[in-house]
């Protein structure tokens, strides 16, 4: 580790190249290693137990490796986009373009739900329009690095990209609608009465070596926290793969069941599960005949709409604005679900 730290500090570019190569080789070696491991086990590959074990043995290291890679890269990217800089970019923007910019910046700006309130107030205070602030606040948790890494590992890049594009679309559209509704009156009074501030950005003096350190810090903090959920999620997913009969979910979450999308959203909102635990289970449900639109709607509502976040936001927003926010976002997610089930 000490040698590592010296290399990251003194030759950060070289370190990044070496690290990328090592990561790539490890990723390539995964399939043969998991194949031979499963072959060693005294179970029949075609039995339910064998199928579940192979899924678990292959997917767990693959997802964890992808997670570490994506979180590291995002940790470095985050160091370029401080909340202060994002705020300065968004202050005084016109709606439309501003919503698009806010949602995109929501993906790359470091965000933590416990900072949602200071961020919200800081944006509004500096003259970021309400709807644009909401576009940021919806996109930031919805399109996060953990969700993207898991989607990439379990569903492939097409679905990961689809989720990202649709998540951004829901954030842009919902923010725009909330802006159109002119609900500034439904901010809490103390927020409305706060003095206006100007968005200022400090001089950035972060070195590449420090960005690499930030990447490592993100891996330690995020992967260190979510790995038990990843393993639990994949274990449940593996059990579903092995033991639940094919097409079992077709009658419950299939595309011909019109009520499945709203029910999926309703179940998803109170679930404050992290993406790490929910995505492997959802992947298994998809394999058992659930429709993609229903599954996407469920994931989005679990990740983007949560009761605890609404409780936090209650400190700055009146009930009516929170209800509007939840209804507009849920509406956007429903639309995504129905459109997908109709098109695919």
């Amino acid at each position: 580790m000490n040698a590592d730290l010296t290399l990251t500090n003194q030759r950060p570019k070289l370190f990044l190249i070496v690290a990328a190569a090592v990561w790539f080789i490890a990723y390539q070696a995964l399939i043969p290693v998991s194949e031979s491991l499963t072959a060693l086990l005294p179970v029949d590959r075609t039995s339910p137990l064998g199928g579940a074990l192979q899924f678990f043995l292959y997917d767990t290291p693959k997802v964890l490796l992808l997670l570490a890679g994506v979180v590291f890269v995002m940790g470095m990217v985050n160091s370029y986009f401080t909340p202060e800089r994002t705020r300065a970019l968004l202050a005084g923007r016109a709606e439309g373009v501003g919503n698009f910019l806010a949602a995109s910046l929501g993906v790359v700006t470091p965000f933590c739900s416990c900072s949602a309130v200071p961020l919200f107030i800081g944006f509004v205070q500096a003259g970021v329009p309400l709807g644009i602030t909401f576009s940021f606040l919806i996109a930031a948790p919805m399109v996060n690095e953990v969700a993207l890494a898991l989607l990439l590992g379990l569903f492939g890049w097409k679905i990961a990209l689809l989720y990202m594009v649709l998540g951004l679309a829901v954030a842009i559209l919902s923010g725009w609608v909330i802006g159109r509704l002119h609900m500034e009156a439904y901010l809490e009074d103390w927020v409305k009465n706060m003095p206006r501030t100007r968005a200022v950005v400090g001089v950035d003096t972060v070195t590449l070596a420090e960005r690499v350190q930030a990447g490592f810090a993100a891996v330690r903090a995020i992967v260190g926290r979510v790995w038990p959920y990843v393993i639990a999620g994949i274990a449940i997913g593996a059990a579903i793969h092995g033991y639940v009969p094919q097409d079992f979910m077709g009658s419950l979450m299939g595309k011909d069941v019109w009520w499945s999308v709203p029910v999926a959203v309703l179940i998803g909102v109170p679930m404050y599960s992290n993406a790490a635990g929910i995505i492997p289970i959802v992947e298994a449900l998809l394999a058992k005949g659930a429709a993609l639109g229903t599954v996407l709607a469920f994931m989005m509502s679990v990740i983007a709409l949560s009761l605890p976040e609404m409780v936090i936001l209650r400190k700055v927003l009146k009930i009516r604005l929170i209800a509007t926010f939840a209804a507009v976002v849920a509406g956007g997610i429903l639309l995504v679900g129905y459109v997908f089930n109709a098109v695919l």
């Binding site: 730290l5 940790g75 985050n78 160091s79 401080t82 909340p83 202060e84 705020r87 470091p110 965000f111 933590c112 739900s113 416990c114 900072s115 309130v117 200071p118 961020l119 107030i121 800081g122 944006f123 205070q125 948790p141 996060n144 690095e145 953990v146 969700a147 103390w190 706060m194 501030t197 350190q213 930030a214 490592f216 810090a217 993100a218 330690r220 903090a221 995020i222 926290r225 979510v226 404050y272 599960s273 992290n274 993406a275 790490a276 679990v302 990740i303 949560s306 400190k315 700055v316």
Partner: protein
Amino acid sequence: MKAVKVLGTGCANCRATVQRVEGVAKELGVPITMEKVEAIQDIMAFGILATPGVVIDGKVVHSGSVPSREKIAGWLGSGAELAGAGAPVTSGCGCGSRG
């Protein structure tokens, strides 16, 4: 005597920041007063966008993460080497959000 304020609504990272600042001050032998600012109105008066924030003698020096031990030592105005320094900034969110 340094007057330290830690700004945060009581999330895990805020508690970690308080502990780390107190630990470094003790190690360096710098006397400090520690105040935890937890009311959101009071936090916003300092103009930060992300918690936890650190204020030393009335000036915001940091926001958005648990500061590294080296940074804290710098604020406390001592060039003294810390034993086992090295834990860098944790930028992640320790407040139990989804991923």
